[in-house]
């Protein structure tokens, strides 16, 4: 099952490598990983999407928690949450028909065309991983993808609850 883990850890050199190393050392999956500082500059927040059965995910959570640099770990998938990922994608858009259909897809998905070349459009979409997949499917149907880059998911719990240091 797919899981989204949020990890608060010391913003120190080497802390990220301990997380990444742990996953490879124990043969856990990383589907995506993002990292950035928080409002408290001494803390970083990592969002990891991973998958595995309940026992594996329980071990992953415990192992991450055990790292001395880690302050807190939560499994966002255990609670109502908001997940967002940024996609930038460049597609062929040479003729009017393609340009019109790519524009329509962007509209439908609440995406945006943020750059254009003589033969291409560059689109942006901020959404869940699931919606991004669907968006890319539609684009592939209407055009060809030249290049794409995804930020990996970030997530936050809904409501007043917060993960803080």
């Amino acid at each position: 099952m797919r899981r989204i883990l949020s990890v608060l850890l010391e913003n120190e050199p080497g802390a990220l490598s301990r997380i990444v190393g742990l996953f490879s050392q124990r043969a856990y999956n990383i589907d995506s990983l993002t990292v950035g500082t928080t409002d408290d500059k001494t803390l970083s927040r990592i969002t990891i999407t991973t998958h595995g059965d309940d026992r594996v995910v329980e071990q992953i959570t415990k192992q991450v928690n055990k790292l001395v640099d880690v302050l807190k770990v939560i499994d966002l998938t255990d609670m109502p949450n908001i997940e967002r990922e940024l996609l930038l994608v460049k597609v062929y858009a040479k003729d009017e028909v393609t340009r019109a259909s790519v524009t329509r897809i962007a509209d439908v998905y609440n995406g945006a065309i943020i750059d254009m070349g003589k033969q291409s459009y560059t689109l942006q979409l901020v959404s869940s991983a699931e919606k991004i997949e669907s968006f890319l499917d539609m684009l592939r149907h209407e055009s060809d993808i030249i290049e794409l880059v995804r930020s990996g998911a970030v997530g936050i719990g809904r409501g007043d609850k917060a993960l803080k240091g």
Binding site: E10, P13, G14, S17, R55, Q63, N65, V68, D69
Partner: protein
């Protein structure tokens, strides 16, 4: 030098003194020369010069296992640091408190592939509890204090501290300030077991008809042997120890049913397989214990107490997990049991003991003796007799290790020093040296073999330098015995690279290092040789004992079977 002003190297030495460090095991080199100069100018912290950094880590490890104090290692950057890797991994796998101080090239050169530069923090990352890159000399006392605290608290383990050459520079001076507290906001090891879990555990224990206590290295590390013995006696429960847990209860205690696992006793493995409640204390259901996890103890309710939550339900799901330090949890359990009106079902327990006695009567450790050649098991039994069961015994890895575990009943915790998790050949001699330094008046025996001893034999030189009168008992079978045993059993006797075809003359070798060497070829020489060896207290004695090379370690679990599927001897299943 201004009064009260210290350079980085002096800060290291002052902090080590404040942290009660008696010995530091190491080897000098370019990046740590300033630190060695500071060590030279004081007498509080004694430096032991080894002949290879791996041995320094094992010496520190042996010292830590025997005393419970943090073992300290000092190595130079690059090869000095990488030579420590095996020893760090050994300590990590067995949760041994250790701090490794590693030199590093000057900060300005880090990342340039400078001479003797290695990213030791990166190299050691998967095998440390934590590590520190020290970048400012002022931070040295607080980093070392944290390193020692981390190494020794919670589930202990090795901590690496990297010290670049520039921060050890004697020209730059700082105020020395020892930190008052070691508080780390991200590190809070569990202490108390959750009361609800304690209650559940107590109910399960009192409902049990076939209870087994299964204890591991955690009992040794947490110094809870007395509490464990009290609990076992109050419950009159059978108890088995893991390889790491031997000595947790006396090997001669009537409730002790032997080691469990791959070369465990039949009665221990049978009791586990037939138990209805297993109380696991500071053990981690290692694959060398469980055999096939799918067939593991199907009828047992498992209570698992461990300070490290990741050990719980990692390989075998626990029905009643209890996270906490053993000293506290054992007190909680004992109190809750004492205050409970319910009592264990004594008649069920009598039936259970009757059953265990039947398994015991198989006498799974009996072996065929002969007058023509020395049996390795006999050697261990005789070492036990001549040392009255009171020696510290370190071992290397292989058949001799299992024979030592099986035939030397350890009376006390910390008496048995072996590399259980990593299985590091070459561990035995340096570990014994670390023990001997800590307890110079005690018999310290290194049980080894002709294969293992050659993996750190250069330390015979260190033994001479510091007068470490270790007794080396080498069960020389002219082969890598355990490898050969597996090849006999699983590879139709094809002995691929398991011979040690050009063995040195160990007696001459030992003598060339200034020690005493004794060769024993026949069973009738054995008693006299051991008497002589153990009567010499001021010299290292190397006993090169030619044992039966065809002997196998039994009992042995049958691959992919249940915990109690065992060979008792060739072709005989238990």
């Amino acid at each position: 030098m201004n009064k009260g002003q210290f350079n980085g190297s002096e800060l290291v030495v002052k902090a080590l003194k404040e942290l009660d460090v008696e010995y530091i095991f190491g080897y000098p080199g370019g990046s740590v020369l300033d630190l060695y100069d500071a060590l030279f100018q004081q007498n509080d912290v004694k430096h032991i010069l080894v002949r290879h950094e791996q041995a320094a880590t094992h010496m520190a490890d042996g010292y830590a296992r025997a005393t419970g104090h943090v073992g300290v290692v000092l190595a130079t950057s690059g090869p000095g640091a990488t030579n420590c890797i095996t020893g760090i991994a050994t300590a990590y796998m067995d949760s041994i408190p250790m701090v490794v101080l590693s030199g590093q090239v000057p900060s300005s050169l880090i990342g340039d592939d400078a001479f003797q530069e290695t990213d030791i923090v990166g190299c050691s990352r998967p095998i440390v509890k934590h590590s520190f890159n020290c970048r400012n000399a002022q931070d040295i006392p607080s980093i070392l204090t944290k390193a020692f605290y981390l190494a020794a608290s919670g589930r202990p383990g090795p901590v690496v501290v990297e010290l670049p050459k520039d921060i050890l520079n004697p020209q730059t001076k700082f105020e020395y300030q020892f930190p008052n507290n070691t508080e780390m906001r991200t590190y809070h090891p569990s202490v108390k077991g959750h009361p609800k879990q304690i209650k559940k555990a107590v109910n399960a224990i009192l409902d049990a008809k076939k209870l087994v206590v299964y204890s591991g290295g955690g009992i040794i590390l947490s110094d809870t042997s007395e509490q464990l013995t009290e609990l076992v006696e109050s419950l009159n429960a059978p108890i088995t120890n893991t390889l790491m847990g031997l000595g947790g209860i006396s090997g001669t205690h009537p409730n002790f049913i032997g080691m469990l696992g791959m070369h465990g006793s039949l009665e221990a493995n049978k009791a586990m397989a037939n138990a209805d409640v297993i109380l696991a204390l500071g053990a981690r259901f290692d694959d060398r214990v469980t055999n096939n996890v799918k067939k593991f103890c199907p009828n047992a309710t498992i209570i698992h107490v461990d300070v490290d939550p990741t050990s719980i339900s990692k390989t075998i799901p626990a029905h009643i997990p209890v996270v906490g330090c053993l000293a506290t949890v054992l007190t909680q359990l004992q109190t809750a049991l004492d205050n409970n009106d319910k009592r264990i079902d004594r008649s069920a327990q009598e039936d259970w003991w009757r059953q265990i006695t039947q398994w015991r009567e198989v006498k799974c450790l009996d072996y065929a003796k002969t007058d023509d050649c020395i049996k390795p098991q006999t050697v261990i039994e005789k070492v036990y007799q001549v040392t009255k069961g009171e020696a510290y015994v370190s071992s290397d890895v292989g058949q001799h290790q299992m024979f030592a575990a099986q035939y030397y009943p350890f009376k006390h915790p910390r008496q048995w020093i072996n590399s259980g998790g990593l299985g590091t050949m070459g561990f035995g001699l340096p570990a014994a040296m670390g023990v001997k330094l800590a307890f110079p008046d005690k018999h310290v025996v290194c049980v080894t073999g002709d294969g293992s001893i050659q993996m750190n034999i250069q330390e015979l030189s260190t033994c001479l330098q510091y007068g470490l009168a270790v007794k080396i008992v080498s069960l020389n079978n002219r082969s890598l015995g355990m490898v050969r045993q597996w090849q006999d059993m699983m590879y139709d006797g094809r002995h691929s690279s398991s011979y040690m075809e050009s063995l040195p003359d160990f007696v001459k070798l030992t003598e060339s290092y200034g020690h005493v060497g004794i060769r024993v070829d026949h069973p009738d020489q054995l008693d006299a040789a051991l008497e002589k060896a153990f009567s010499i207290t001021d010299k290292l004695v190397f006993l090169d004992i030619r044992v039966d090379e065809k002997e196998h370690v039994y009992p042995m679990q049958i691959k992919l079977g249940a915990i109690d599927d065992m060979w008792l001897k060739k072709g005989v299943k238990g």
